[in-house]
Amino acid sequence: MASSSSSGLTFKLHPLVIVNISDHYTRVKSQLNLPPSLTSTSSAATSNNNNNNSNGGENNQQKPPRVYGCVIGVQRGRTVEIFNSFELIYDPSTRSLDRSFLEKKQELYKKVFPHFYVLGWYSTGSDAQESDMHFHKALMDINESPLYVLLNPAINPAQKDLPVTIYESELHVIDGVPQLIFVRSSYTIETVEAERISVDHVAHLKPSGGSAATQLAAQLTGIHSAIKMLNSRIRVVHQYLVGMQKGDIPCESSLLRQVSSLLRRLPAIESEKFQDDFLMEYNDTLLITYLAMFTNCSSTMNELVDKFNTAYDRHSRRGGRTAFI
């Protein structure tokens, strides 16, 4: 029931939401499947808002629990930007959503992030299901067209794509009956600078302390891998075009148009004003680096003078120079 969306909205997803959902899922999962070293009595007492748990024991082969929550963000015109998320209490057996909890949480989040409002909801699983429609409809009174963000928690090492899909609901006429069905939409990942740095930091576990050399090395490695990625992508496009020229691959004009428009955009900026500004910034940076090296030099010199004075101090030792032991 997932076809491609036609609503024309562009979605931007922040990595925080993804990490949030994953954290929620991991917590609920680990609260269930405790390591065999702990007893089962504590697990029975602590298995809480878990939805699919019927046997609270040491059973490690349970079906992974589904977690539910709400996503918040802003919608500006045709762009929907999802910034944050929080958990919700939902019982799939009775299909009841805890309203008061939702409202309370909304209030709390409004105080800290006054611009954000409820955009939709999230859940974990491998595919959108029929039962999800109930939840979706329940949220429709808060937001007329909520989003459904689905995260697939199965770790598949062969996967190259993010296992996150965004669904919208559309009214389709099926067998003469207008029904709401889920349609998949595409999205892009949007990061603020600070977000990118902290995601980078945690993703590659850079040392937070450490000398300046390792810091620089870590940062350069990041940029190096980014450039490598760019290089490999350009190679792919190049090979594709060569293949098309030789005739191995059928010509696709829309793709060709895109490539040509991309190439026509290079060089990006050519005006004189740009050159002026660019050279000014460049000179400023060089000046600051020069100043840094200068002070480094003068401090090294100072140390050298200190050491010389200590080694060849005429006042504290008798006679002239003595060997510095």
Binding site: V19, T46, N48, K104, L162, Q215, Q219, T221, M229
Partner: protein
């Protein structure tokens, strides 16, 4: 693929010891053991040893939330609370949330306004099944480094009296963005009158001239804890995949453009410090320079050297 090779080579070269390996048993850290927590809360091993907690483990989610919140405040200090648990001599921070108060450091009563929010949030959390408790607070020092100011020290001392175990975390979002590495520090204060037996060696950081007095007066009253990060196996997987999407941003974002005025501010601060150093020199006797004089010059110079690195 290339990024994986690059990461492995770098890790090898830098002897990364405590790498949180993404195997299922490491997700154990997410499990909240109520019985053990209740026992340790009763035993209170931190009551006798002011230096008890030595390490902090911050989850990926908490770090992300704190840095984003700190950055969103711009040049205004923001604060929030952290929830988690203790584990021997380590405090584990699982999550963080922002508090709806902003202000300057002189607003000590920010805590009073935030209590209601905190109670509400904790209640809703417990309802949703999050069993952890509040273990600390974080706030931001935009542009002037990670350390505790006088007000912060007194707030933290109060917290450590009544809300143990409690941790103070400071984040500098401006320096984070301009240098590309996360500037964060975790601290605990010593109780009144306690003298640390050994001089703690802290990482040198530059402090702007107008704050340096506040820093100097209180810097011996607290100690820094080691910070390490952890993430779940699913987080690992997702973050690796995320890298495939935002590598473009790594190349396209330029710290020069984003932080122009911060750099300018730092340079003017540097100029002031150099002027002060010069005045110090000219006003004093220009005879054989004693070691103390040399130290002053060296300190001021070192300040500026580290800053520009």
């Amino acid at each position: 693929m290339d990024s994986a090779i690059a990461q492995k080579t770098w890790e090898l070269e830098n002897n990364i010891l405590a790498v949180e390996a993404p195997d299922p048993s490491s997700d154990f850290i997410f499990y909240y053991d109520e019985v053990a927590q209740a026992m340790s809360l009763k035993a209170k091993p931190w009551a006798n040893d002011p230096h008890f907690f030595k390490r902090v483990k911050i989850s990926a989610l908490a770090l992300l939330k704190m840095v984003i919140h700190a950055r969103s405040g711009g040049t205004i200090e923001v604060m929030g609370l952290m929830i988690g648990k203790t584990d021997g001599d380590a405090i584990i921070v699982m999550d963080a949330f922002a508090l709806p108060v902003e202000g300057t450091e002189t607003r000590v009563n920010a805590q009073a306004d935030a209590y209601e929010y905190m109670v509400d949030y904790s209640q809703t959390n417990k309802q949703a099944g999050r069993l952890e408790n509040v273990v600390g607070w974080y706030h931001s020092h935009p542009g002037y480094g990670c350390w505790l100011s006088g007000i912060d020290v007194s707030t933290q001392m109060l917290n450590q009296q009544f809300q143990e175990p409690f941790l103070a975390v400071v984040i500098d979002p401006t320096r984070t963005v301009s240098s590309g590495k996360v500037y964060i520090g975790a601290f605990r204060t010593y109780p009144e009158g306690y003298k640390p037996t050994d001089d703690p060696i802290s990482e040198y950081q530059t402090i702007p001239l107008n704050k340096i007095e506040d820093f100097g007066v209180h810097c011996k009253q607290y100690y820094a804890l080691n910070i390490s990060y952890f993430k779940s196996s699913l987080d690992c997987h997702l973050l690796d995949l995320l890298w495939n999407k935002y590598w473009v941003n790594t190349l396209s974002s330029s710290p020069l453009l984003g932080n122009g005025d911060y750099v300018a501010g730092q340079l003017s601060d540097l100029a002031e410090k150099l002027e002060q150093a010069e005045n110090h020199l000219t006003h004093s006797r220009i005879g054989p320079l004693g070691t103390s004089r040399k130290k002053v010059i060296k300190d001021i110079l070192f300040n500026s050297v580290r800053q520009s690195k």
